[in-house]
């Protein structure tokens, strides 16, 4: 790591696994579950959060000495809301179909607890560069889970990835479908998102025993 010091690279790598925002810190779950029925939506959501969190962290870090602590939540919300409006308008302009699909969940980035959590826990006490790295790291950890869940839900639920029919054609019975494979439509319904995340948590904690909770 020539570019980043050891401490800085830890900021990015930690949230990817051992301090993952979703599976360990229990933040930002709502959007993670609701839009993961398709891989494409998950990726767009991950990128939007990456943008909002990285820029927001820098802004808050620059402002941290002049924000009165009593009204900091409102200030933070205004910063996030402004960034989210940018994301929303860009999505509406360049990917209208997708923004319709994400519906209110773009707006709900505002209340994504990862963002407020990182502002409170990190950006208010650290410089802009480190806050930027922290934002990238946490958003990447969030995006990673989103993409894993989106991958499995789309693959098992509709047999496609990013819209491409990777398992063959279910109507013409080619590929896997020729052997009698059927799409599991249940994966597209909301409860399965919860169960997939539960399984990810299970796998992660069996690999790293230090993370196991006592009830």
């Amino acid at each position: 790591m020539g570019l980043l010091s050891k401490k800085d690279s830890k900021l990015i790598l930690d949230p990817l696994a051992d301090n993952n925002p979703i599976t360990i810190q229990v933040l930002g779950i709502c959007s993670a579950l609701a839009i993961t029925a398709q891989l494409k939506a998950s990726i767009v959501m991950a990128l939007s959060v990456l943008f909002v969190l990285a820029i927001g962290n820098v802004v808050i870090s620059l402002l941290r000495n002049i924000i009165p602590s009593k009204i900091r939540i409102i200030v933070q919300l205004v910063v996030v809301a402004a960034l989210v409006i940018i994301v929303d308008q860009v999505l509406k302009a360049f990917a209208y179909e997708l923004s319709k699909q994400l519906s209110v969940f773009v707006g709900l980035i505002i209340t994504n607890c990862i963002i407020m959590g990182r502002f409170e826990a990190f950006a208010l006490g650290n410089g802009p560069w480190r806050s930027f790295l922290d934002g990238i790291g946490n958003a990447a950890g969030y995006g990673l889970i989103l993409i894993i869940v989106g991958f499995f839900r789309e693959l098992l639920g509709s047999g496609t990835l990013l819209g491409y029919k990777v398992l063959g054609d279910p109507i013409a019975k080619t590929g896997l479908y020729a052997f009698g494979y059927e799409n599991n439509g249940f994966m597209l319904l909301s409860p399965m998102a919860l169960i997939v995340v539960g399984i990810i948590i299970w796998v992660q904690r069996s690999r790293n025993k230090a993370l196991i909770e006592d009830h």
């Binding site: 919300l77 989210v84 209110v104 909301s190 904690r205």
Partner: protein
């Protein structure tokens, strides 16, 4: 009749937690004990009952396309709806701050037990989600907006109460070690969500009116998809040619 339908629909069918996954963070974090869960649930009902109608008024008279017409005909062409996120969240943050002050004054015990989670209501997605759904579903009257706010708050309350009760009991069961805590809560929530899906037929089972509407929407969707597929295929053919 509309009110009753909306009431049951927002509690059971479109339950905030199980159907749209809103407010999951505090749902998972504050559901270890029934008593705190009840406190937070009540606070959520209260805040939603205030903010949804307030935001309805904002939406109707300031933000909507042409909503400023009451100021005078020259303002009728304004569409401020891109400001709705910031206006809604400002209303919510203010209301939460007010609730915090009131709770601290009148019930210090509840205030202490809720701790950090009271300000966190401001970033509870269920609350903002309620207002955004109110906007996107175009709820027609103030009374229905109030009804929607209260009933989706009740839905959230029921969900957190149920999971807190289950988590209190699950402590005595032999859960595999890596699943303990968060993992099993996720899976139980998933199972509860499957259960709640069965309420889906509650309002459409009788006269089938709602069902018909849904079906026509689906048919339209399919038509659109089919048209898209056809056009894509045409493009592909052109390329291959």
């Amino acid at each position: 009749m509309e009110h009753i339908e909306l009431f049951f629909k927002s509690i059971f069918i479109d339950n905030m937690v199980f159907a749209t996954f809103l407010g999951m963070c505090s749902y998972l974090a504050v559901s270890k004990k029934v008593s705190t869960a009840v406190g937070l649930g009540a606070a959520v009902i209260f805040v939603m009952a205030i903010t949804v109608p307030l935001n309805w008024l904002l939406d109707q008279y300031i933000l909507k396309d042409g909503a400023l017409a009451w100021l005078g005909p020259e303002y009728a062409s304004y569409d401020l709806s891109f400001l709705s996120f910031i206006m809604f969240i400002a209303t919510i943050a203010t209301m939460v701050q007010l609730v915090e002050i009131v709770v601290e004054k009148f019930s210090p015990a509840l205030y202490n037990s809720l701790g950090i989670f009271l300000p966190l209501i401001a970033v509870n997605c269920a609350i903002l989600g309620g207002s955004l759904f109110m906007q996107s579903r175009e709820i027609p009257t103030l009374g229905q907006a109030l009804n929607y706010g209260v009933s989706s708050g009740i839905g959230w309350f029921l969900a957190i109460l149920a999971i807190a009760a289950i988590r209190e009991k699950i402590r005595y069961s032999n859960v595999p070690a890596p699943l303990r805590g968060l993992g099993i809560t996720f899976i139980v929530t998933g199972l509860m969500a499957i259960g709640f899906m069965s309420f889906g037929g509650m309002l459409t089972g009788g006269d089938g009116e709602g069902k018909k509407q849904q079906e026509t929407v689906k048919v339209e969707d399919k038509k659109e998809q089919a048209e898209k597929l056809v056009s894509q295929n045409n493009i592909k053919e052109e390329i291959s040619e």
